[in-house]
């Protein structure tokens, strides 16, 4: 058993979007703050810090979770995916991102990384959702601008596109 002392910084290593990263964290440091301030990947946003708003949603070992409800030290050795990993290296948007763009599914954009990471995970596991499915899946992400209609449209459009793409392969 390993005990990490408070007020001391401990090394944390994990894979972020396929690349190995590391930094130092006190036990009380949230994973959101570690990713943003230690690693410098500021795509993951911080909203409510108690699991309600969904802005900080990331994937840990292939599952969408709240980064604000995890300690940085709990991410040791994990595979982490954030919004920065969605687009191709040359900047080409993923099908989901492009659908958000086309459908005006964002205004201020603050909630968008959380919506995208929730949907990436959800659509992978439920490739053929109904509108009602999408609305339930997105109940854990808050958007104060759009009224959700455009986000739901984008999600449905992306789902169809991803299916067509995988069918043509």
């Amino acid at each position: 058993m390993q005990v990490l002392k408070q007020s001391e910084r401990h090394r944390v290593r994990f894979t972020l979007n396929g690349e190995r990263v590391e930094g130092l964290a006190e036990p009380r440091m949230l994973l959101t703050d570690f990713i943003r301030h230690e690693i410098g990947a500021t795509g993951t946003h911080v909203g409510c810090e108690h699991g309600i708003c969904g802005a900080c949603t990331i994937r840990v070992n292939g599952k969408a979770v709240r980064a604000c409800l995890m300690l940085a030290v709990q991410a040791e050795g994990k595979e982490i995916e954030t919004v920065e990993g969605l687009a191709a290296k040359d900047g080409t948007l993923s099908a989901l991102q492009a659908a958000f763009h086309r459908n005006f599914a964002l205004q201020c954009g603050y909630c968008t990384p959380g919506f995208l990471m929730s949907l990436v995970d959800y659509l992978e596991k439920n490739p053929n959702p109904t509108e009602a499915d999408i609305r339930i899946a997105l109940s854990g992400n808050l958007c104060r601008c759009t009224g959700y209609a455009e986000i739901v449209n984008a999600a449905l459009e992306a789902a169809r596109e991803i299916q067509a793409l995988s069918a043509s392969k």
Partner: protein, 275 residues
């Protein structure tokens, strides 16, 4: 909204978690999924001196069928329980309640036992355990003991778990043939805390109704099966007997009305799905 200082222990064996609990008592907090505890830490509603992480204890990541019940180990997430193929058949009430718990993103980390330990009065899993008459398994360095749901949850966010004890498993009674089970809740948005949550069990000439979100812990009442008129009176009496008050989400009067109306519906659903 950042936690205060604490030491952090990553446990690889149950015994090391129990040792730390024996040493630190009330100053230690177990974390598994952390979907309740992390919010409490962030808001500094709890300030443990040490957080004991059991999330990587694979020995507790099991779902086991036993005589008359299904046992969920302490590190089984709500998502893993949802994905357990026999869930709907063996514990249909839990299967019906799970999708209402938070959101899929929180169920990916949140555990069954963690929700029971947190003991929020509106939580679905404590309500199901109380309505079914299930048990929890507590361990400390001193002993292991099995405690019934109604004795375990003693009030608002408070349980009979001693400071040196850890919940290692929860036992949900398995579905009995010819019995019916149904769950309903009302909340402002899908995944929000339930304003009122109801669980019904019908079988063997009895009706049992559990209500969450009204009193400061799940309330369970059992009647002999009866006709609809008598049931309406019985539900009215039950609704008046419940404590609970007004809050920002709903008045006590509204909650009582939901117990009457949804109570009737959920009991009807349980009657219909008797198998």
């Amino acid at each position: 909204m950042k936690p205060a200082n604490f030491d952090y222990a990553r446990c690889e064996r149950v015994e090391s978690a129990l040792d730390l609990l024996a040493e630190h008592g009330d100053d230690a907090r177990i974390i598994a999924g952390g979907q309740s505890l992390m919010a409490m830490l962030n808001m500094r509603l709890v300030r443990p001196s040490i957080v004991v992480d059991i999330a990587s204890l694979d020995e507790l990541a099991y779902v086991k069928e036993a005589a008359g019940y299904v046992e969920f180990g302490a590190t089984v997430t709500q998502a893993a329980a949802e994905a357990w193929p026999a869930l709907r058949k063996r514990v249909p009430l839990v299967a019906a309640a799970l999708p209402h718990i938070g959101h899929f993103q929180t169920r990916n980390r949140g555990t069954i036992c963690g929700s029971l330990c947190h003991a929020d009065p509106s939580s679905e899993l404590p309500l199901c355990l109380a309505t079914l008459g299930g048990d929890v398994v507590l361990r400390s360095r001193r002993k292991k003991r099995v405690v019934g749901a109604l004795d375990f949850q003693i009030g608002l966010l408070s349980t009979a778990k001693q400071p040196d004890e850890m919940m290692v498993a929860a036992r949900y009674p398995a579905a009995r043939s010819g019995w019916g089970y149904a769950f309903r809740e009302i909340s402002r948005r899908h995944g929000d805390f339930a304003i009122v949550a109801l669980a019904a069990v019908v079988g063997d000439g009895k009706i049992r109704l559990g209500v969450g979100g009204v009193d400061d812990k799940p309330a369970v009442h059992e009647w002999d099966d009866m006709d609809d008129d008598s049931l309406a009176d019985a539900l009215n009496d039950f609704a008046w007997d419940l404590g609970g008050g007004d809050d920002i989400h709903a008045t006590a009067r509204y909650r009582r009305e939901m117990v009457r109306r949804l109570g009737k519906k959920v009991i009807g659903e349980a009657r219909q799905c008797r198998s």
